[in-house]
Symmetry: C2
Subunit: 310 residues, 2 copies
């Protein structure tokens, strides 16, 4: 028998699960659909049943599982999921429910924080303990790791980089209710809005079209990119001047554009960062993709178990 | 004999020293002038001599001193003062020099970080482990404490809140070489510049005059305050959305204006902060004044000694 943990990433459409050894080697991986009926009340039972089934296959057994880490799409504290709008949860006692049924310790964390931890654990080629993870996709999210630990914050709002206020001549209303959050301009949606505004019509419907236009030397698409990385660069430079991390990791759909996006973003950050930092910080693309959350959830429970073992 | 530590705050004109017991009770306090001749090379010997003399007075003795914490006006790493422009130091091995001569362990830290730790240790009425300290004086400085520890950063630039980039229709060049850092607008100097620009003449020479004019209902002075707290509010809200600390502490000369300054600053932060944070965070005025650095330096060595004792 070998000590193992399970890392889970609960998304709006599917729940991804993976079995890891204590060093983070992924041993098995599967997924189940997310059942959001009845305000997501079936989800815990679905997870429990799925784990029981999977752990009775072949040589796998439930007794090997020392702990379970679960990343959820919303703020969490040590005990409950405070909110997960996509799942229908408010102050949802997920930890207690799973622990009670399986009799295995559970650690909860926010999904962006889980991805940040995953990238720290298995994405960095160097030993990194201080990292800022920025995910640039439909929205802009983030996770901050200080001294190897997630900075969850007093209101479980640590790392909410997408809601840094930015300055604009426009007024865009953010999903959070505020006006002109970074997410309104720095996300894929924001970028599409900026492009269509510059073009004064619905010129594009996604960022792939924008990057294709950039490669075709389209001036409006180029201006859109310039504006987008300027918003992101200012905000990320502000974060860097505050936290001065070892590494900035950029993930999310927009980062898939690669150097076309990351090179100008790096230049924008450089231009706004404190002189001691500018030009001498490490910025890299996230490499774990949609597996980052499972890795990070596993890391969280592994480190929680280690802490208790001391 | 009783275990004690010494906390030192090296400033451009004077060096403040204090003797503390291990719980942070100040037992003795004195100061010596800062001798910046010969690129500050006399400073270590001055400190050593002053400690030797003071610790041979009355019942005090050097053998009681378990450690010395020293706050310096510049970035430090674990071993050296990387730069202290006002003192003439570059990669200055202050720690080693004092340790070698007195045979007592020394901890170095940046002065703003020291003040932050001091405010955490002896300024907060509650048990706080996560705090953002912002000092608004001639410039804008800061210190960030996460889980009870200073966030010093990879380039010793952690907490450089004054160098968060801001947006302005003007271009003001910052001492760091960048353009439009928060410090250019949010500091006492920045506030005076804003007021004189609005008045289109040298209307005021310090912030006291501005606050006096505000109390006399002067529209330009009121607009200056509004603009200043807007710059600060945006930047601090950005920091809060990133770090979500337990407490924000505002120090420095401008904070001495009290509610006249802090109430609109609080409102500005509220208007830009993430909804979960807005209206429900603790903001307070720093209370230790220019003793904060000595307290924080003492705290740093006390916690370093505790760490090694484990």
């Amino acid at each position: 028998m070998m000590n193992k943990v399970i890392g889970i990433d609960i998304g709006g459409t599917s729940i991804k699960l993976a079995l890891f050894d204590m060093t983070g080697l992924m041993l098995d991986q599967w997924s189940i659909p997310t059942n959001t009926a009845n305000e997501g009340s079936e989800i815990p039972a679905d997870i429990i049943q799925s784990i029981r089934e999977r752990m009775s296959r072949g040589t796998q057994c439930l007794e090997e599982i020392l702990g379970i880490g679960i990343g959820v799409p919303g703020p969490v504290n040590e005990k409950v999921v405070k909110r997960a709008v996509n799942l229908g949860w408010t102050n949802f006692p997920l930890k207690q429910m799973i622990e009670k049924s399986l009799n295995i310790p559970v650690a909860l964390l926010n999904d962006a924080n889980a991805a940040a931890l995953g990238e720290m654990w298995k994405g960095s080629t160097e030993h990194v303990r201080n990292l800022v993870f920025v995910t640039i996709g439909t929205g802009v999210g983030g996770g901050i790791i200080v001294d190897g630990k997630i900075l969850n914050g007093q209101h479980a709002s640590g790392g909410e980089i997408g809601h840094i206020p930015v300055h604009s001549t426009e007024e865009r209303i953010c999903g959070c209710g505020n006006i002109n959050c970074l997410e309104c301009y720095g996300s894929a949606n924001g970028m599409v809005k900026t492009m269509n505004r510059l073009a004064d019509r619905s010129a594009v419907s996604n960022t792939k079209e924008i990057f294709d236009l950039i490669e075709a030397d389209d001036p409006q698409a180029k201006e859109t990119l310039k504006m987008t990385v300027d918003y992101l660069g200012r905000a990320i430079a502000g974060v860097m001047n505050t936290l001065d991390p070892e590494e900035i990791v950029i993930g999310g759909g927009v980062s898939e554009a690669g150097p076309l996006f990351l090179a100008p973003l790096r230049a924008a950050i450089d231009s706004y960062a404190f002189p001691q930092i500018s030009g001498s910080f490490r910025l890299r693309k996230a490499i774990l993709g949609n597996e980052a959350g499972m890795y990070g959830a596993a890391y969280q429970i592994v480190s929680t178990l280690k802490e208790y073992a001391v």
